[in-house]
Symmetry: C2
């Protein structure tokens, strides 16, 4: 995915402070210290109850290509400090050129439904390497998870209707559009208008004509007839260039001619006005003329809330076109994923656990070599427990809410469980086979089907229970108290 | 800019309907009809009073590289319609492979302040080509103009303080981040944390260390001392990992040692908590210890409103770090730019003017071969008049508000004027020299200095007057009436 798009080394796609810190570690002799960092988020986007993890396949590609070119290093050698002297020692730049990722990565597969504080990616390795990866991993995972989640919400709103993504023109740059098309498909869209995404990612593409097609002819009917003549096996007619109801009548006329030729009028599209009213009127006109199989496409700044509302109003739309609101995640255009140091190995080979304090309780991080255990019963997921792999849960463990220690839970009702993070890299080598996009998309569907409807609703969703395993909770509490006493 | 990033043909970076329409034009023998399309937006982003045009240099690169590869065409040959038959005739695909842009483009230079309904880009050429360019031009111009505008607003809020952009981790994909860094610099940021943007676009880069640096040492003071030791000419110390005020005291200690070595503590950084209170306390501690030259960097989900508020509260911050809210244009993550057909040449070589009707007055387009004339007096811009180049204003013309024809204006008070759109392509060849990024950035500064402060304010800004030249207004009115009578 990345490789097919970019022709430049992306190792400088990081914040400068990652490089100055790397230099600091190198120069102070601590570059090789073994560390563990966790990538996680603190709050679901869109005030929702779930998030879809996405972007791992890009991260794998990034890591496999991770190396500084001579050109990268030449650029770094030009950077200077406040005194006009070079920032970096040339020996460090030589070292950078030999640097490869040599660590371990465990991650939640793409398409998994995840919750706040759960590591989506866990990176273990020399601190210098782990630090450099912070920015690119966040860039790749934050955005893709955000869009996959938005698409999954649209899918829930649309039920079994067809969902088309056509946001490219409003996307945030070329790759903003490409990445959005891929994540939107994974999250639940059926097709995209983005032809390059179709070609590179194997996503179905859809599209017929715009207002300009109609305007380029002397009459709307003529434009419909010519279109149906030329592309008889792909006829969706956009009916709102001038007067929508008249547009539907013209579409019916063109549809009749098309039928005489042995083809079908696939759909009409409404792109403005009162979509509830117009779709009901259009449905009547189509049905009366015998076009019961002709679908109605609705579009115009739609999101999950508008789709829900239109359905409630009885709109006769079977295909939803969604663009801007999806590809920019309009109502919350960023997922606040973070990447936090959780442990450092001391010279004796033991882990020193690490935690970032904050006056805001939600911003205090969690230490440990974290894994997530998901418990199931016969109806689906019942709760997730974050534990430290150094102190795994023994038998029926208790989990504790990190923000309210009086909320505790044992798993008497669980029939089975699964650990969510799977090995992806070992000693810098990929040990994971990236599933194809269809498999990832199916995973989203399956995962969502295991979630209680209350967690999936848009308004005040029920909070899925996630807690810390009791030993990890104790470790975290001890560390907080120790740091606060300093 | 594009070339340096991508290694794939981007000609399929378009909506499928552009290709199906292109096929329709080709097959119906109208592909060569000479047309004019205008790219414009209808409303300023962020409820603001101005927009900064950005993205033209990317558009030029895109156009210069525009051609369908054999690989692109092979992919298109696999697309099928409802009957399972290929969508496109192989002869059309052969034709696509020979296609190059042969038309004319006029555009507003990057960094120009622009207003609703003004064409930012005007494309003239065979309808098939113009149509294919709609999506990529919108993708490139919409996002870059949005971010440059957001950055310009941040610049207005920050006055003469330093503005650092460090949004990469929350950006919308890799190129979302790269493009945002460039547009943010053009709009008024002084530097970016994005090292790849520094390398590829020549933007100054800045950055020192993160919380993880502090956490990787046994004590905060030790971490500061090591950092100052290793990078003495780039010392900004992040003081809020544990307790912010103690962090400032530790920074002062580290700063004293640094001073003994002949270096200066450049800055401290506050990334959480009450930035107003903490910056004032930190300033006192720094000043008392003789660090009057040490700057204070403030960051934490800042935008133009928070910066304004913090300044009003007397915050002692001289360097503002802005990330998420800037690179995603958080409060309005899309600019609604559109691309509308405005004229088609008839066989007699005359223009048939075109217009898209809508029930929403603001969505009715304007016909014509549009140019924008900006009038000045000695204080700056006074108003812009959109005119049809076929009926240029003769002498002192009258302009008319397209949404209220009783609002009219003559230019008795104008001392001079300038036409904003300049030739960029002629017969498919570039006739424009793209200015360097510094020149574009300076243009934004100069342009904004010519705008009345009332237009630049964030709350209920004054609307800068933009009207249609009287002949163009008449043409538009006649067309609307004619279409409504149909």
């Amino acid at each position: 995915m990345l490789h097919s798009l970019y022709n430049t080394s992306l190792s400088l796609l990081t914040d400068l402070y990652q490089l100055t810190m790397a230099y600091g570690y190198w120069k102070s002799g601590t570059a090789q210290k073994e560390t563990v960092f966790n990538l996680y988020f603190r709050k679901h986007p869109f005030q929702g109850g779930f998030t879809v993890a996405c972007g791992l396949s890009s991260a794998i590609e990034y890591l496999n290509a991770f190396s500084f070119s001579s050109d990268d290093v030449r650029y770094l050698s030009t950077l200077t400090g406040t005194d006009g002297q070079p920032l970096f020692d040339p020996a460090f730049l030589d070292y950078l050129q030999t640097l490869r990722f040599t660590g371990d990565i465990d991650a939640v597969p793409e398409g998994t439904v995840v919750f706040p504080n759960e590591p989506l990616i866990r990176v273990r390795g020399p601190i210098l390497q782990c630090q450099l990866l912070e920015t690119p991993l966040l860039t790749l995972i934050n955005f893709q998870s955000l869009i996959a989640t938005k698409a999954a919400r649209m899918r829930l709103a649309a039920h079994d209707d067809t969902l088309l993504e056509f946001g490219l023109r409003r996307a945030q740059g070329i790759d903003g559009g490409m990445t959005a098309s891929r994540a939107a498909y994974i999250g639940g869209c059926d097709a995209t208008s983005n032809v390059l995404a179709g070609k590179l990612y194997g996503i179905p593409v859809r599209g017929t004509h715009a207002h300009s097609w109609v305007m380029s002819f002397d009459s709307e009917l003529e434009s419909f007839n010519v279109y149906a003549d030329v592309l008889p096996n792909n006829v969706t007619l956009l009916v709102d260039t001038y007067d929508t109801i008249q547009g539907v009548r013209n579409a019916v006329e063109a549809g009749k001619k098309l039928r005489e030729r042995g083809y079908q009028l696939s759909a009409i599209r409404l792109d403005s006005g009162d979509l509830a009213y117009l779709s009901m009127e259009a449905r009547k006109l189509l049905d009366e003329a015998g076009f019961r199989e002709t679908a109605i496409v609705g579009s115009n700044d739609l999101d999950e809330y508008l789709v829900t509302s239109l359905k409630e109003q009885g709109a006769k739309i079977n295909i939803w076109g969604i663009g801007t609101k999806l590809v920019t995640a309009y109502d919350q255009p960023a997922l606040g994923g973070v990447y936090k140091l959780a442990a450092i190995q001391n010279p004796a080979g033991q882990w020193d656990y690490k935690l970032k304090l904050s006056e805001q309780t939600i911003k205090i991080s969690t230490p440990g070599i974290q894994q997530v255990r998901r418990y199931y019963n016969e109806r689906g997921f019942i709760s997730d427990m974050i534990y430290n792999e150094e102190t795994p849960p023994a038998g029926p463990s208790t989990m504790i809410d990190p923000y309210d220690f009086t909320r505790q839970r044992r798993f008497a009702d669980a029939t089975t469980f699964e650990d969510l993070l799977v090995p992806v890299f070992r000693n810098g080598q990929t040990v994971y086979t990236t599933p194809d996009i269809q498999t990832v998309r199916n995973r989203v569907t399956t995962q969502l089907s295991q979630l209680h409807p209350g967690i999936k609703r848009f308004t005040n969703p029920h909070a899925y229970p996630v807690g810390l395993e009791q030993n990890l909770h104790q470790l975290r509490t001890d560390l907080i108290l120790k740091l606060r006493q300093k």
